[in-house]
Amino acid sequence: MIRRDFSERDIHMALDGELPTDERAAYDSWLDANPEMKARSARFTADREALRSAFAGVLDEPVPARLRKVVLGEAPVRAAVPRSRWWLAAAAAVLLATGGFGGYFAGIDGIGQEDPAEDRLAEQAIAAHVIYAAEKRHAVEVPASDKDHLQTWLSNRVGLKLVAPDLTANGFQLVGGRLLPAGEAKAAMLLYEDDKGERISLFVTAESAENAKGTYASAQDGPQAVYWLDKGYGCAVVGSLPREQLAVVAKSAYGQLLAGLAS
């Protein structure tokens, strides 16, 4: 039996079938003598099995016709310009890998198919919007005229450094804000209004462990929520604006919120 010092590196090699056969027995006794390493090896082995089974089904899927056609020459061969869709998925993957803004892998639009956490955030945000945006005199607890206090108060309560985004470029002025329950946590609601009286609201909570992003509507003609969730915070922008317009405002609001959180 070959005697040599083993290290964590050997755990990977053993797992990947790269450990020379004649070292296997010595490696096994080293594992037995090092419970911590043995536990590590067991975790990595379990993870590998989980990875394999997570993707095992792909091999059994029928090959999409479009792929067969490419090979069989039934589809015109184009210059290989990357398709936009996977390009975007690649971009999203970079975002995730670099700790960017939330995940793109969760569902969008498919109501009832997504993670409940996202639905919950969107539903709470929409419910709050439906109730308070309709209030003329009691829409907010702290008015925009007291903005500094509003920001400090909500930041303290929610547990995030909140800066009310400036949406004047999008035609919206801050009306004020209020504190709301969000499940077992607290949420800040910031209400905005344009010169026609159209209102949108921002709903921000510190309770989120998900990475997700999407749009959500609870009813056909009801307001829509555009939301982002990331580790440690969730944000939804709700309004009845045309979808593209809401998306633009939401993007601006979210960018400023994030900058505020990081400041």
């Binding site: 990977h12 790269e18 971009a91 960017g100 462990a209």
Partner: protein, 172 residues
């Protein structure tokens, strides 16, 4: 059908699996496979006799993937994708994914593309270190450290998920 094309057809399921583990979304993954197949067919002559079709195709696909990732990184567009784009990207998670699968797939997507590719190549696709290093175009040492770091990162993310779940249960 000539032999080369038959051999390529036979590799499609594996290519799809690799693409899926890199990109997760089914349509995006198939788009990547399609790009790969198109490029492969244009370069059929580059495929040397005796070379494994699998290795040849995986190399082509990996280059497509990594080139694109680099471009995306360089452009610095990471800050925020337009919502419309996000919508094109995100598809409801595969309906049959169990919770455990979903967690590990999420975690896999969250590690760096280089590490993800290295880990998947060896742990799922079953390539040897030498083969994988060759396909990815990196020295064996680099491949090994990517695999080791990838595994640790993946485990760390799964531990985080489990911890958060535990906290939620405790809080209830």
């Amino acid at each position: 059908m000539d032999e080369k094309k038959a051999a390529i057809l036979g590799e499609i399921p594996r290519l799809r699996r690799y693409a899926r583990s890199l990109l997760r979304d089914r349509d995006s993954a198939d788009d990547l496979v399609q790009d790969c197949l198109e490029r492969a067919l244009m370069r059929l002559d580059n495929w040397q006799t005796g070379e494994s079709p699998r290795r040849w195709l995986f190399t082509i696909m990996h280059h497509l993937f990594i080139d694109q990732m680099r471009k995306v990184n360089r452009r610095g567009e990471a800050a925020m994708l337009p919502l419309e784009a996000g919508e094109a990207v995100a598809k409801p998670a595969e309906q049959l994914e169990g919770i455990a699968s979903r967690e590990i797939i999420d975690a896999l997507q969250a590690i760096s593309p280089d590490r993800r590719a290295a880990l998947v190549m060896v742990a799922i696709e079953g390539f040897s270190y030498a083969e994988a290093a060759n396909i990815l175009g990196v020295p064996a040492g680099t491949l090994m450290s990517r695999i080791a770091r990838g595994r640790e990162e993946l485990r760390g993310l799964l531990d985080d998920t489990a911890r958060r779940r535990a906290i939620r249960i405790v809080e209830k």
